[in-house]
């Protein structure tokens, strides 16, 4: 897909410093410790595509979402939205940017104010951006109704409170709230994980439909790899704040190169399987405060060799199409067996 990038993530890192005891702060030569939540991320998202971010807890998926939304500033690097760098949280450009990027959170039980009625929830962003949008009160009222209808909600129920709705309907309200101001991009942080499968499909279909209707770009954060395969056009696989592999969805899922990607794909239960496939990735996530030397994945990698322990691999374009950060893959230029 060749299209103009809507979002450019350039060398973005995020460190969260750890609180130190007074003793440590006074002791000479003790360096402050920090959790490296994002390490030197570099990729762009094209208009109209769905970029998925996958990885296990602690890999930095949600931190990335927060940096993209401008909720927290990156420690290094910049996020460029439609050619304009995103300021740190609360900067003067923050409101203008949020008119274009909105977010849908995982838990519609937590993301909707229980004391606000549905129409007020959907109206709130319109009121905040009223001047920029140039809408009259009547137009705002009409937009609220139109957005609710578009998201499969009966505008007659707009006088109700969130608790009077089911989880799926509540997520529809959250999506309506995000779409009311007609943004060009949505950050979807596990938007269906809290829902039952039969309802998940309804919400995924709604998101697909809205994307088509409004030419929306999605940054889709999920741990459900089967859903990602069906929903996304490209995918970033993250491990311990680093990108392991990035590419077109079919390349990464059908011909994964990085051993972590392959292990992760093998670990996901498969409805076609009729017996348990043995766990493919041994061990557990290392302490992010003291990440392993070299390749962050090497202690759990079944294929690690000497170089992996000392030298951090860089993302390199593979002839197959995707970018991959693995010494074995880049040196042999072949799929590891």
């Amino acid at each position: 897909m060749i299209s103009r990038p809507i979002l450019d993530i350039r060398g973005v890192s995020k460190f969260f410093p750890l609180r130190r005891s007074l003793w440590d702060r006074l002791a000479p030569g003790k360096k402050p410790l920090a959790v490296g939540a994002l390490r030197d991320l570099d990729f762009s998202i094209a208009t109209g595509e769905t970029m998925a971010v996958v990885g296990e807890s602690g890999c930095g998926k949600s931190t990335l979402a927060r940096v993209v939304m401008g909720l927290i500033p990156p420690s290094a690097g910049t996020v460029v939205f439609e050619g304009t760098p995103i300021d740190a949280a609360g900067g003067p450009g923050a409101r203008a940017r949020r008119r274009h990027i909105q977010m849908v959170f995982q838990n519609p039980f937590g993301s909707l104010d229980p004391r606000m009625r549905v129409h007020a929830l959907v109206r709130e962003p319109l009121v905040i951006h009223r001047r920029a949008l140039g809408l009259s009160s009547a137009q705002i009222r009409a937009r609220v109704e139109e957005t609710l209808f578009e998201c499969g909600l009966d505008p007659a129920m707009a006088g109700r409170f969130p608790h009077q709705f089911s989880g799926g309907q509540r997520q529809r309200i959250a999506i309506a709230r995000a779409l009311a101001i007609r943004p060009s991009m949505l950050v979807l942080d596990e938007p269906v994980s809290a829902l039952d499968v039969s309802v998940q499909a309804q919400i995924v279909n709604l998101l697909r439909e809205k994307q088509r209707d409004h030419d929306l770009t999605y940054l889709f954060i999920s741990h459900d790899l089967s859903l990602v395969r069906c929903f996304a056009t490209r995918v970033v696989v993250m491990y311990l704040g680093r990108v392991c592999e990035i590419g077109e969805i079919a390349d990464v899922f059908d011909r994964p190169l990085h051993p972590y990607t392959r292990g992760l794909l093998a670990a996901v239960p498969d409805i076609r399987a009729r017996s348990k496939r043995p766990a493919a990735v041994p061990g557990e996530l290392p302490n992010p405060v003291r990440p392993p030397s070299g390749c962050a994945f090497h202690p759990r990698c079944p294929l690690a060799f000497d170089r992996c322990r000392t030298e951090e691999p860089t993302l390199t374009k593979h002839p197959q199409g995707q970018l991959v950060a693995c010494h074995l893959v880049t040196t042999s230029n072949d799929r590891p067996q």
Partner: protein, 327 residues
């Protein structure tokens, strides 16, 4: 001849009293379990699958009550035992594993003590012998340096290690039945896979029967021997894994399988089940699924269908289970 089942559940019914009303959350559920068999109870939230698990452990607190049914375990009806007798079964012959390991483990006690507890209480082992048993159990579940880990407090272990320790505590008792309620849902994919390998491996070796409650149909496809599908408090389909997944005989099962995103068919549209599962306090008349059923709904559907045999060890609660299910 099939051997005598480890567990025979019949007519299990759980009701909750809400104000004046009695609400049935588990309605005449029946199934059997052989030793070494893994039964997966699947369904969406609110289907009653966890309540079945809790009822078998007699962990239903007021305003809930077990209103009817029998659960024969080793010749005794669990539902008729008094609390002291049940206490002797619970954590001894039947062990339960919950979803959240941090809520299961006592944060103030060392891991080793918590595993020892069952061995001391039910097996009468001395403190030292039980501790040795706990260390061995931790070793069996693949925890490195078990002597040291036994001295740890729960917060010092990762979620995966905590769940392993809980499995260690259960398996150390060599129970006849393990009831696991979403045991890996809180864990990451790679850890989930490891923990399931462990649970299945150990129970297969010991020929422990397992009831695994989960909402994840794909996980069921990998681990189950038998699948029980629950909907709005009722068991709507029960049968061998291959039969239920490949030739589902209840429209809900078929729809549930159809709504799962499949990596092998990325272009296929998501088939959502319209509407949502009814609340147990406002159940539809007749077949519980008929308002959402994609099949042609006929007058018979206004009568509640019973679970009837549709194949070898395969039951479905649909009036038209013998008809082809259209998708």
């Amino acid at each position: 001849m099939t051997p005598r089942p480890v567990l025979e559940v019949s007519d299990l019914t759980v009701r909750f009293r809400v104000g004046e009303k009695l609400i049935t959350v588990v309605d005449h559920v029946a199934f059997e379990l052989q030793s070494g068999e893994i039964l997966c109870l699947v369904g969406e939230s609110g289907a009653g699958k966890s309540t079945v698990a809790h009822a078998l452990m007699r962990l239903i607190d007021p305003p809930g009550e077990i209103a009817d049914g029998r659960a024969l375990f080793a010749g005794r009806d669990l539902l008729a035992l008094n609390e002291a007798e049940m206490q002797a079964v619970r954590g001894n012959h039947i062990c339960m594993i919950f979803q959240d390991p941090m809520a299961t483990l006592n944060p103030l006690k060392r891991i080793g003590e918590q595993i020892s507890e069952g061995l001391r209480l039910h097996r009468g082992l001395s403190r030292a012998a039980a501790w040795q048993g706990a260390v061995k159990a931790l070793r069996d579940v693949g925890i490195p340096a078990p002597e040291l880990r036994a001295r740890d407090y729960p917060h010092q272990l990762s979620g995966g290690m905590q769940q392993r320790a809980i499995i260690a505590a259960a398996v150390a008792m060599e129970p006849g039945l393990i009831i696991a309620d979403e045991p890996t849902t809180a864990l990451d994919a790679t850890i989930q896979s490891q923990v399931l390998d462990l649970l299945i491996g150990l129970t297969r070796t010991l020929r422990t029967a397992v009831i695994l409650v989960t909402h994840n149909m794909a996980l069921v496809a990998e681990v189950a021997d038998t699948i029980g599908v629950m909907y709005a408090g009722a068991l709507v389909e029960l049968g061998p894994k291959a039969a239920v997944l490949d030739q589902p005989r209840h429209p809900y099962t078929a729809a549930l399988i159809g709504s799962i995103p499949r990596a092998d068919e990325p272009e296929r549209p998501f088939v959502a089940i319209p509407g949502m599962m009814p609340s147990v306090s406002a159940l539809p008349a007749g077949c519980l699924f008929h308002p959402r059923c994609a099949q042609m709904v006929r007058p018979d559907c206004l009568q509640r269908p019973a679970l009837t045999m549709v194949g070898q060890q395969h039951w479905s609660a649909c009036h038209f289970a013998e008809l082809e299910i259209t998708r």
